[in-house]
C-alpha cells in the first residue's frame, strides 16, 4: 500500500508541528536571544549616525543624537564682561536666546576668515538647560557610519578629560574627527564661570 500525496502532506505537517513544538534548550534560547538582540541593537544605535561639518578646512563629526538643531548663521551679541573665549555671546533662533561659543577656539584652531558666509551654519548641541551653540563653516550631511571602522586619534591629540576628539572616522571622501559633545559643552561652560 502506498501513501497518497495528501497523506504525505499531512505527515509533513505533523512533522513540522512536532518540530516547532519541541522543547527548546535554554542554551539555544539564550544564544538566539543574544544574537537577535545584538543585531537589532547594532542596527539601531543612534550614535552611529553622525552630523558632518567643516571648520577651517578640517572635517569634523558629532553624534547626530547630540545635535539639537542646525540653522543658518546669525548675529551673535557680545555680553559685557563675559568675553573670555571660547564664550562668544548670545544668539537667537526661533525665539530662544542661546549661549554661543567658539568651537575653533575649543579645538585650538585658527578661524577661517575666508569661509563662504552663505554656507556657515549654527549647530546647537546638548539639552535645553545645558545647550551650547557654535558656528561652523559648513554642514556637509548626516550619515550612518560603521563603528568598527573607527580609528584612534593620533597621539598628538591629548587623551585626557578635556580632549574633544573621540576618534577618527575614515570615509571615502576624507577622514573626519568624531568630537565629544560633552567635552565641548564642559569647556564652553568653563568660560562663563
Amino acid at each position: 500500500m502506498t501513501n497518497s500525496p495528501s497523506d504525505n502532506l499531512a505527515d509533513t505537517k505533523i512533522g513540522l508541528t512536532q518540530l516547532l513544538a519541541r522543547p527548546i534548550q535554554n542554551a539555544s534560547l539564550a544564544q538566539n536571544t543574544s544574537d537577535l538582540a545584538q543585531e537589532r541593537a547594532h542596527s539601531l544605535r543612534e550614535e552611529d549616525t553622525i552630523l558632518l561639518f567643516r571648520i577651517g578646512g578640517e572635517r569634523f563629526a558629532l553624534p547626530a543624537n547630540s545635535v539639537q538643531n542646525v540653522f543658518p548663521s546669525t548675529t551673535v551679541r557680545k555680553v559685557p564682561h563675559r568675553t573670555r573665549p571660547p564664550f562668544r555671546g548670545l544668539c537667537c533662533y526661533e525665539g530662544a536666546i542661546l549661549l554661543t561659543g567658539l568651537l575653533h577656539v575649543v579645538l585650538d584652531m585658527p578661524a577661517d576668515e575666508n569661509a563662504d558666509l552663505k554656507l556657515r551654519r549654527m549647530i546647537v548641541i546638548g539639552s535645553d538647560e545645558s545647550s551650547w551653540t557654535f558656528e561652523v563653516d559648513a554642514v556637509d550631511c548626516i550619515r550612518k557610519v560603521d563603528p568598527s571602522q573607527f580609528r584612534n586619534a593620533p597621539s598628538t591629540i591629548p587623551k585626557n578629560a578635556s580632549s574633544c576628539t573621540n576618534c577618527i572616522i575614515p570615509m571615502d571622501d576624507g577622514d573626519a574627527m568624531l568630537l565629544n559633545p560633552i567635552a565641548i559643552q564642559a569647556i564652553m561652560e568653563r568660560s562663563i564661570q
Binding site: 559685557p80 548670545l90 536666546i97
Partner: protein
C-alpha cells in the same frame, strides 16, 4: 471654594515660604559655621519677617508667632544681646523646618498642619524665648543686667517695619518658580520634620521640578488659538506664491530666449510675440505682487494681534492682589482698637501678573504701617476734630503708561522735625546740613535701611525692616516710590510702576558694533551733542543740559568691549543720560538705533550675574539684544570712578578715537626695543603709545582704549607675566589681545607667557622677519578699523 476667593494667594504664599525658607536655611548654616559673622543676620531677619507677614495674610497665627519669635532671636543676635550658639541655630533651623513644610501643603491641609504642629511650635517658641544666659553657649563676659538694659530701640518717629513679602536683598527666583538652589536648601528640613509630622508631604517632593502653570482667561485662549490657526493658514499661501514666481521665471526665460533668437533672425513677428509674452508676464507679476502684499499685510496683522493677545494673557486685574486686604485691615484695626474705613479703587485695572506678585509685599507693608502708626485711636481722632473712623484708601490706575498706586490715610501724618532730629541723632547728616533739608528730602530718609525706629517692637512693626524693602522692591521692578505727608492730616505713598515686566519700551543703541537696549523708563534723556559744545573740566569732557554739567563716559570701555566701531569721528557725540537729577552722567554710545517694544527674556542662568545686564530680548530683526540694568550700571560707574577703574572721557581720547585707527600699547623697559616696536607699528598705520614697565602699562591701559598690548617679560616693578595675569583678572581686559615679545625663548618661558593669558609669544628675533608684523595683524587685523 478657596478661602481666598479663588485667587492664587496661597500659591504665592507657598512660593514665598520656599524662597525665604531657603534664605533662612542658607543663612543659619553660614551663621553656624561662623557665629562671629553678622552679615547673614540682616537677610535672616528679613526672611523671618517676610514669612511672618505672609502667614498673617493667610491667617496662620501659629506661623506668625513662630516667625515673630525667630525674628526676635535674630534681632538679639544682631544686637549682640546674645551669641548665636549651636543650640540656638538648631532651634532656628527647627522653626525653619516647620515653616518650610507649609511650602508643600495644600490650602485644605492647613487645619491639619495647625493641629499637628501646635505643641511643637509652642515648645519651640518657649525655647526661643528663653533668655540668652540659659543657652549652653559661652556668652561673652558681659554683665547680663547690662545687656538687658540696652535700649531696645530709639524713640519713635515714624512707623517702622510691617509685614513684607518682599524678596530679600539677594536676588530671588521668580515667586512662582522656585530655583534649584531653593529646592536643594529646602531638602534640609526633611529629616528633622519627619519626626514631627506624618501629614505633610515630604519637603523633598519640592525637589522634583514642578510644571509652572498660569491661569489664562478662556476667551483669551480662544482668541489666541483662532489667531494661531489663522497664522498657519496665511503661512500656507506662501508655497502658492513661490510656485507662481517660479512659473513666471521660466516664462521669462523662454520669452527672453525667443526674443534674442527673433532679434538675431530679424523675425519681426516673433519679436512682437515675445514682447506680448513679456507684457503678459509683467501683468502676472503685478497681480502676484498685489497678492503677496495682501498676504504680507494679513500675516503682519495676525502676528501683531497674536502678540498682543499673548501679552494680554499675562495681565490680571489689580484686584487679585488686594483680595486679602479688607480682612487683614479689619483684623488689624480691631486688634489695635482702631476704626478704619478701607476703600479700594481700580480693582479692574490690568497689571502684569509678575508685577502683581512683586507688589504684594510693599502694599501689605504700607497698609499695615498706615493702620499701626498712621491712623490714630478713635479718641485721639475725636480730640483732633476728626471723625472717629479713619479713612484708608488704596487706589490703582494707569497713568502716563505706568501703573500708579496710591495709599492714603487721614491719620496723624509725619512730623518732619522729628525726622530731622532722628537724622541728626543717627548721624546721617550733620546738624548744619540737616537744618537745610526740606520736607521732601527729609521724608526720603524714611526709605533708608534701619531708619525706621518705633518705640515698641511689636509683631506688627517696629524693626526698621520695612520701607527700605518697599523702596528696594519698587526699584527692582523699575518703579519709583515717594511719600507725601501733612502733619495732622495724613500720609500718602505714591508708587509708579511698570504695567508689565514682560514688555518694555527701550531705546536701542550701538556700542562697539553691538546692539544694547536701555529701558526708556530708566534713562533721563538721549542727546546728540555737538563736539564743539563739549567743555573740558580737569581734562574730562562734559556738556551742559538744563543748567547741569553732565560728565561723559565711553560705553564700550564700561562694557569691557575692546573692539569698537567708533562713530565719533563725526562732529556729534551720541549720549544716553542716566542717573537722577542731582547726579547724572552721560554714556557715549556709537549710534542711536531707535525705540522698540521688547519682550523681556531672562538671561541663561548659567551666565550668573552679568554686570550691567538685566535681561535679554529679541529685536525687530530677530537678533538677540541685551537689556541694560541701569541701576547696576550707575553703581558700576560710581564705584569705577571712585576706584579709578573708570575714567571720564577726555579730549585726547576723543581725538584719538576719532582717527578710527587701532591703538597699540607697547610696554618695554628698553627704550631701544620700545622705539623699534613703535616705529614698526606706526609704519603699519597703528597708533602707538608706550610704557616703561607693567605698572606704567596697567595705568595707561586703564586710562585709554587700546586694541592690543605688546609687552616685554623682564621689567622692573611689575614683570610682563605678572602684568598679563593682573590684566586677565580684570573683566574689561579679559579679551584684550596680548602679545609677549621677549628675549627668553625657552619652551618653559613660552608656556609661562601663554599660561598667564597672552595670545601670542614672540622672541625679539621676530623683528628680523615678518613674524612680528604677521602676529600683530593676525591678532587685530589691519590698522584702520
Amino acid at each position: 471654594m478657596s478661602a481666598f476667593g479663588g485667587f492664587d494667594l496661597f500659591e504665592l504664599f507657598r512660593a514665598e515660604i520656599v524662597a525665604h525658607g531657603a534664605s533662612l536655611n542658607d543663612g543659619l548654616l553660614r551663621l553656624e559655621q561662623n557665629p562671629a559673622d553678622v552679615h547673614p543676620i540682616e537677610s535672616l531677619m528679613r526672611a523671618a519677617h517676610s514669612i511672618k507677614g505672609a502667614s498673617r495674610v493667610i491667617g496662620l497665627d501659629l506661623a506668625v508667632d513662630l516667625a515673630h519669635h525667630m525674628e526676635d532671636c535674630l534681632v538679639n543676635i544682631q544686637k549682640k544681646i546674645e551669641v548665636c550658639g549651636p543650640e540656638r541655630v538648631e532651634q532656628l533651623l527647627g522653626g525653619t523646618d516647620i515653616l518650610t513644610q507649609l511650602a508643600t501643603m495644600q490650602e485644605a491641609d492647613l487645619p491639619t498642619w495647625k493641629s499637628t504642629h501646635a505643641v511643637d511650635i509652642n515648645a519651640l517658641i518657649t525655647a526661643l524665648s528663653a533668655p540668652p544666659q540659659a543657652m549652653p553657649v559661652s556668652v561673652p563676659t558681659t554683665n547680663p543686667v547690662d545687656v538687658v538694659e540696652q535700649p531696645q530701640s530709639p524713640p519713635e518717629i515714624i512707623q517702622a517695619a510691617s509685614e513684607s513679602l518682599v524678596a530679600p536683598i539677594k536676588p530671588q527666583p521668580a515667586p512662582l518658580a522656585p530655583s534649584k538652589s531653593v529646592v536643594s536648601s529646602s531638602e534640609q528640613p526633611l529629616k528633622s520634620s519627619d519626626k514631627s509630622t506624618n501629614t505633610a508631604k515630604p519637603v523633598a517632593a519640592a525637589a522634583t521640578p514642578e510644571v509652572r502653570t498660569v491661569r489664562v482667561n478662556a476667551e483669551n485662549l480662544d482668541r489666541m488659538m483662532r489667531l494661531a490657526g489663522e497664522s498657519m493658514v496665511e503661512g500656507k499661501r506662501f508655497p502658492q506664491i513661490r510656485r507662481g514666481l517660479r512659473e513666471m521665471k521660466s516664462q521669462l526665460r523662454f520669452a527672453r530666449d525667443s526674443f534674442e533668437s527673433a532679434v538675431k533672425r530679424r523675425d519681426t513677428a516673433e519679436i512682437s510675440n515675445s514682447l506680448a509674452r513679456l507684457a503678459s508676464i509683467e501683468g502676472s507679476l503685478t497681480s502676484h505682487a498685489e497678492f503677496l502684499e495682501n498676504v504680507f499685510r494679513r500675516t503682519e496683522e495676525v502676528g501683531t494681534k497674536l502678540y498682543h493677545e499673548v501679552i494680554g494673557s499675562r495681565m490680571r486685574p489689580f484686584g487679585d492682589v488686594t483680595a486679602g486686604h479688607p480682612r487683614m485691615i479689619r483684623d488689624l484695626a480691631k486688634k489695635l482698637g482702631k476704626k478704619v474705613q478701607f476703600d479700594i479703587e481700580g480693582s479692574h485695572v490690568s497689571v502684569d501678573r509678575d508685577v502683581l506678585a512683586r507688589l504684594e509685599a510693599p502694599l501689605n507693608h504700607m497698609l499695615r504701617n498706615a493702620i499701626d502708626h498712621g491712623v490714630e485711636a478713635p479718641d485721639a481722632r475725636l480730640a483732633a476734630g476728626k471723625s472717629e473712623t479713619a479713612h484708608l484708601r488704596l487706589q490703582a490706575r494707569h497713568h502716563a503708561g505706568m501703573l500708579e498706586v496710591r495709599i492714603r490715610d487721614d491719620g496723624r501724618g509725619i512730623d518732619p522735625e522729628r525726622v530731622r532730629a532722628k537724622v541728626i541723632e543717627k548721624r546721617l547728616q550733620s546738624a548744619d546740613i540737616a537744618a537745610g533739608l526740606n520736607k521732601t528730602e527729609l521724608l526720603e530718609f524714611l526709605f533708608l535701611p534701619g531708619f525706621s525706629t518705633a518705640s515698641q517692637v511689636t509683631e506688627v512693626s517696629g524693626r526698621g525692616v520695612g520701607l527700605d524693602v518697599v523702596s528696594q522692591t519698587v526699584r527692582e521692578i523699575g518703579g519709583t516710590v515717594r511719600l507725601e505727608s501733612q502733619p495732622g492730616q495724613g500720609s500718602e505713598f505714591i508708587l509708579s510702576l511698570p504695567i508689565t515686566l514682560s514688555v518694555i519700551r527701550a531705546v536701542t543703541v550701538l556700542v562697539g558694533g553691538e546692539g544694547y537696549a536701555f529701558p526708556l523708563a530708566r534713562i533721563e534723556r538721549i542727546v546728540k551733542v555737538e563736539s564743539a559744545s563739549l567743555k573740558s573740566m580737569e581734562g574730562r569732557l562734559a556738556f551742559n543740559l538744563d543748567d547741569r554739567s553732565i560728565g561723559l563716559l565711553r560705553a564700550n570701555e564700561l562694557f569691557g568691549l575692546s573692539q569698537t566701531t567708533d562713530s565719533n569721528s563725526s562732529s556729534v557725540v551720541n549720549v544716553v543720560v542716566l542717573g537722577d537729577i542731582d547726579n547724572p552722567c552721560g554714556l557715549v554710545v556709537d549710534q542711536f538705533m531707535g525705540e522698540q517694544d521688547l519682550v523681556v527674556r531672562k538671561l541663561d542662568p548659567r551666565l550668573g550675574k552679568t554686570p550691567f545686564v538685566s535681561s535679554a530680548a529679541i529685536d525687530d530683526e530677530g537678533r538677540a539684544i541685551l537689556i541694560m540694568d541701569v541701576e547696576d550700571l550707575l553703581i558700576g560707574i560710581r564705584r569705577g570712578l571712585s576706584e579709578g577703574g573708570v575714567r571720564g572721557l577726555d579730549i585726547a581720547s576723543l581725538r584719538r578715537n576719532s582717527s578710527g585707527r587701532k591703538r597699540v600699547l607697547v610696554v618695554d623697559d628698553s627704550i631701544t626695543v620700545r622705539e623699534v616696536e613703535r616705529q614698526m607699528l606706526t609704519r603699519l598705520g597703528y597708533e602707538v603709545e608706550t610704557a616703561v614697565d607693567g605698572v606704567d602699562g596697567f595705568t595707561q591701559l586703564k586710562a585709554g582704549r587700546f586694541d592690543l598690548l605688546v609687552t616685554d617679560v623682564d621689567m622692573p616693578r611689575m614683570n610682563g607675566i605678572e602684568f598679563v595675569k593682573a590684566l586677565r583678572r580684570e573683566p574689561r581686559f579679559a579679551s584684550l589681545p596680548v602679545a609677549i615679545v621677549s628675549y627668553k625663548d625657552r619652551a618653559e618661558d613660552r608656556a609661562a607667557g601663554m599660561e598667564a593669558g597672552a595670545n601670542a609669544y614672540l622672541t625679539k628675533g621676530s623683528f628680523q622677519d615678518q613674524s612680528f608684523i604677521q602676529t600683530i595683524t593676525d591678532l587685530i587685523g589691519e590698522a584702520q578699523a
